[in-house]
Amino acid sequence: MIYPGSKVLLEVRDLRATVNGVEILKGIDLTVRSGEVHAIMGTNGSGKSTFAKVLAGHSAYRVTGGSVTFEGQNLFDLKPEERARAGVFLAFQYPIEIPGVANSHFLRLAYNTVQAQRGKDELDPLEFEDFVREKMKLLEMNPDFLDRGVNEGFSGGEKKRNEILQMALLEPRLAILDETDSGLDIDALRIVTHGVNKLASKDNAIILVTHYQRMLNYIVPDFVHVMQSGRIIKTGGKELALDLEEHGYDWVGVARHATAGA
């Protein structure tokens, strides 16, 4: 939701990045304020997932130009773990399976690390168990998932719920959800998006990266950005997503070229 006068959380200016020497991001500009929900839409290969990973600090991507400021500090001065502790959260498109590490152990380590950073109390395993079970109710998750390996053998929908559970535990200032809707059936989509809506507040912001308009029926964006070839080529309100759904991504490209030519 747009709150007049709310402060800027994320300021992206002319961001450029390469992977294996190939430029994927070719100058992105984006301003996200506290309380807002932004949707970044685009076809496969438009660079939207790369943008999400660059913000989280994945080492496979090299930033070659531009700047990103998060709450006033240069995001690129921070390692991935420091970004996470500062309040940047990426929900992965393909959450990683880690056999041998109990999900509860992983969740508690992550939670306590972030708590310590914020000068808050860490929880011992018993306290954490109660705490996390409460959070799991929000996502209608079976507590059995605590005892399994991290994402090990989870279905697509279970993995995405586990991602949003982590968001609920870490309480980020900026959550980037990378194709969180992919692989979800309609019930799982409803549960996951309901969870995200519960977590949204005037003090945080959410960037939804998605191919389809479907998720935006549940999480209503304040801004919709269309990405193509590593740039944001159009920005509008939530109705832009509906136009895209109706006319397809080609329509934006055509419209843009028409404008540029005029």
Partner: protein, 435 residues
């Protein structure tokens, strides 16, 4: 030149042998005499021997440490942190010598169960012992088994009567307290038909100097009996640990073993399991976690001598620094051992650019109706897994530790004793934290 140094080394090692008291049992004296003869004829293996290709023990040949003959002054307070709360029966050996005051012999769980030291009970149980002692761990071609047998005087002795199920684990604790000494620990476990027992063979140290441990364990498993064998090697980082374990499985018996090696400058563990009768089943798992300049060598041989046997093996090495892991897993399927079902997997994690692993499956199959699968992998920590953990706030070090721990935990989880499992899990986390 080499011959000269070999001989002088062996001569010096064998010096302590004549001091051993003679036994009233002729066969026992004969066994030792044969071993002395054999040890005198065998040479110290070098990397020119196929079985020792990757393991250079030449530093060992420079050390002529003698067995200790003075009773240790170690007190309960010094060692009780090694005790397992689940184990009500425990035999403690310090520098190779049996310590009755630190041990709790059998037994509350059955009047006939025997858990004791060999020298005190050899005469009483000679009939049961004679067919097994020195019969499974051959020393014809094995210098270290020959040396151990040449020095055979005392040992851990466990005899489980037929159809007896021993619930609490039996803990054999071998503690090194004196640097520059050699010990020859020995264990004999005889599991009667239909019995079940869990054995923990545990090598620990109270000092960080150099010493030699040369162990031999023999396990004879009767028809339908079940033995779980956990073996821990936590010797000092300067120690040499050589061990031979021989297991014989009778009809429809089960042997499950988990061996974990953390310690020693150079360690070598040979495990030979023979499925001597039909329908026997074994699982042989191992974990070596080494760093610095450690070398851990595991050689196993699983011999399917009869039909319908099953064997499972998962061996893992976690290698950091300039350490070197060796795994050689031999599977033999003898002619006629039809319907053998065997699988072997060697998985290795290299944590540094200087870490090294040599892993070799060795299948010798002489029957046609068999299922034998094997595979080996060598890898590093996965970058995507590391990034995932770091994106949740974990530091690089914490993320690496957690993934390393997870790799080892798969083996440690197979140890059936909770307190030991948790202790080892902590050890893995602490060990990785140092790096």
């Amino acid at each position: 030149m080499l011959m000269v140094s070999d001989n002088s080394y062996l001569e010096s090692l064998l010096q302590g042998q004549p001091q051993l008291p003679r036994s009233p049992l002729a066969w026992f004296n004969q066994l030792r005499a044969n071993a002395v003869d054999r040890a005198g004829m065998l040479k110290v293996p070098t990397t020119r021997d196929e079985e020792w290709r990757f393991t250079d023990i030449s530093p060992l040949a420079k050390l002529s440490f003698q067995p200790v003959h003075t009773i240790s002054s170690v007190q309960k307070e010094d060692v009780e942190h090694f005790y397992l709360k689940e184990a009500s029966i425990r035999l403690v050996f310090v520098d190779g010598m049996y310590m009755p005051q630190l041990s709790t012999q059998s037994s509350e769980s059955g009047a006939d169960l025997i858990v004791t030291n060999l020298s005190g009970s050899l005469a009483t149980h000679a009939k049961a012992i004679e067919p097994h002692l020195g019969r499974h761990a051959g020393f014809q071609d094995n210098l270290f088994a020959a040396l151990n047998t040449a020095f055979l005087h005392d040992a851990a002795l466990i005899i489980v009567p037929r159809n007896t199920v021993v619930r609490p684990p039996v803990h054999l604790l071998f503690i090194a307290t004196q640097a520059e000494s050699t010990s020859h620990p020995r264990c004999l476990l005889i599991a009667g038909a239909g019995s079940a027992v869990t054995l923990v063979e545990d090598y620990v140290t109270l000092q960080e100097g150099p010493y030699i441990t040369n162990a031999v364990t023999e396990i004879a498993i009767g028809d339908n009996a079940q033995v779980h064998h956990t073996r821990l090697q936590r010797d000092s980082g300067q120690a040499f640990h050589v061990a031979n374990c021989a297991v014989s499985l009778a009809r429809s018996s089960h042997y499950r073993s988990v061996s974990v090696a953390f310690g020693a400058r150079i360690s070598r563990y040979d495990l030979n399991a023979v499925l001597a009768s039909e329908g026997a089943e074994c699982s042989v798992d191992g974990l070596a976690l080494i760093s610095g300049r450690q070398l851990a060598d595991t050689h196993t041989s699983i011999d399917h001598a009869t039909p319908d046997g099953i064997s499972r093996q998962l061996h893992k090495c976690i290698i950091d620094g300039a350490a070197h892991g060796v795994f050689n897993g031999k599977i033999i399927v003898r002619p006629g051992a039809q319907r053998t079902d065997s699988s072997q997997s060697s998985r290795n994690l290299l944590l540094s650019g200087r870490a090294r692993i040599d892993t070799k499956p060795q299948l010798e199959i002489f029957a046609d109706d068999v299922k034998c699968a094997h595979g080996a992998t060598v890898g590093q920590l996965d970058n995507e897994e590391l990034f995932y953990l770091k994106s949740r706030g974990l530091s690089e070090v914490a993320a690496r530790n957690l993934l390393t721990y997870a790799f080892g935990a798969e083996i440690i989880d197979r140890i059936p004793i909770d307190s030991l499992k948790h202790r080892l899990e902590r050890t893995v986390l602490e060990q990785t934290r140092k790096n």
